[in-house]
């Protein structure tokens, strides 16, 4: 299993065509090519954080400044950011577009990812956050644009779960 270069490109093109020019991220294996594309793109500002909850704060600041932006993180980073999502983004009605590598689910060979993978969807449901799975490279661009549109109209964090089908070859 290797990370899909082509599908990473499709995700990145979706981010660009959604008008997003600012990304806050913590590197993770499935996001390697995506983050390389962001790093090499002079039109994109990429901010890498020490821990994902910081990214929620930085993304909120970018939103307050009027900049469409996205967060890229692993689902464990999402789980580690819950208080920032709840007590900053949801409390203050600040939209977040969260692109989350959904590790530890169907087909996961690594035991350490599995508990986080299993609880990610239930946690999103408990928070009442809209989410969708991205599985198809032909659809993911549209899903990112729709995520951005819904986040900014509902003033809510939204999550797009980047699945194994999409991120691995």
């Amino acid at each position: 299993m290797t990370v899909s270069r082509d599908n990473s490109k499709a995700v990145y093109q979706g981010i660009k065509s959604a008008g997003i020019r600012f990304i806050t991220a913590l590197p993770e294996t499935w996001l390697v090519y995506l983050l390389q594309l962001a790093e090499d793109d002079p039109e994109m500002r990429l901010v890498e954080v020490a821990k994902e909850e910081e990214a929620v704060g930085i993304a909120a600041g970018a939103y307050l400044a009027g900049t469409p932006n996205a967060l890229l993180m692993q689902n464990h980073g999402f789980l580690g950011s819950i208080n920032g999502i709840v007590s900053l983004a949801m409390l203050y009605r600040i939209p977040l577009v969260m692109l989350i590598a959904h590790r530890g689910h169907w087909g996961e060979p690594y035991p350490w990812h599995t508990q986080g993978g299993i609880v990610t969807e239930p946690v999103l449901r408990a928070l009442g956050l809209p989410f969708e799975y991205a599985r198809d490279p032909l659809r993911v661009g549209g899903q990112i644009r729709e995520a951005q549109t819904l986040a900014w109209s509902s003033l809510s964090p939204v999550a797009l779960l980047l699945s194994r089908d999409l991120m691995e070859d």
Binding site: F22, T24, R45, V47, E48, V49, A50, K51, E53, E54, A55, V56, G57, I58, A59, A60, G61, A62, Y63, L64, A65, G66, T67, N83, G84, S87, L88, L91, Y92, R93, I94, L155
Partner: protein, 194 residues
């Protein structure tokens, strides 16, 4: 030195700078001097005020951004100092009011009490490019003047007494703060457009 004295001295110098504060006493002391559309009070999510400031500063290079932080909040998100150091927008100033206490939540001693943990040293070690320390209001305002030259991101650690206001409350709903703060920034963006 009291934090309220520092904020009172700072207030006339704020002009149209964008201000992000942490929760509780710090937010209240600024609010009590008179709310402005340029103030955003983070009443929860401890540790993220500096992250919000970074996100604003990177996206509004034409604006000066100042974060009024505290030792308890910074200790909850020490990684932020390294992230700030890496991206170091020159238009960002972080003031850490270090009262050695989790004052707004019962006054328990924080790790900085009695000089055990040195936040200025941590900021320097994280790579923050200009770290200034102040123990008097005069030294604080000198540090602020340096920070406001806008040449390099500045961290100011101000040692203050563990005292706060005798009341809490704002006539400002939290989402209302978001909407008004963002609208203010958007309106100045429009004015700045050719």
């Amino acid at each position: 030195m009291k934090r309220a004295e520092c904020i009172r001295a700072l207030y006339p110098e704020l002009g149209d700078r964008l201000v992000v504060t942490i929760m509780g006493a710090t937010a209240q002391e600024l609010y009590d001097l008179g709310h402005r559309e340029t103030f955003f009070y983070l009443q929860h999510a401890m540790g993220l005020a500096s992250s919000i400031g970074l996100g604003i500063a990177l996206n509004r290079p034409q604006d000066s951004v100042i974060v009024l932080d505290g030792d308890g909040s910074v200790l909850m998100n020490l990684g932020t100092l390294a992230t700030l150091a890496r991206y170091r927008p020159p238009n960002l100033t972080q003031v850490i009011f270090d009262n050695g206490s989790l004052l707004s939540t019962g006054g328990f001693a924080s790790h900085t009490t009695a000089g055990i943990t040195d936040l200025a040293a941590i900021a320097r070690g994280a790579g923050c490019p200009r770290v200034l320390e102040a123990g008097t209001v005069y030294a604080f305002m000198e540090a602020v003047a340096q920070a406001f030259d806008g040449e390099v991101m500045t961290t100011i650690v101000a040692k203050v007494e563990a005292v706060g206001p005798d009341h809490f409350g704002m006539d400002l709903k939290l989402p209302e703060n978001t909407f008004r703060f963002q609208r203010h920034i958007a309106s100045t963006a429009r004015l700045a457009a050719p």
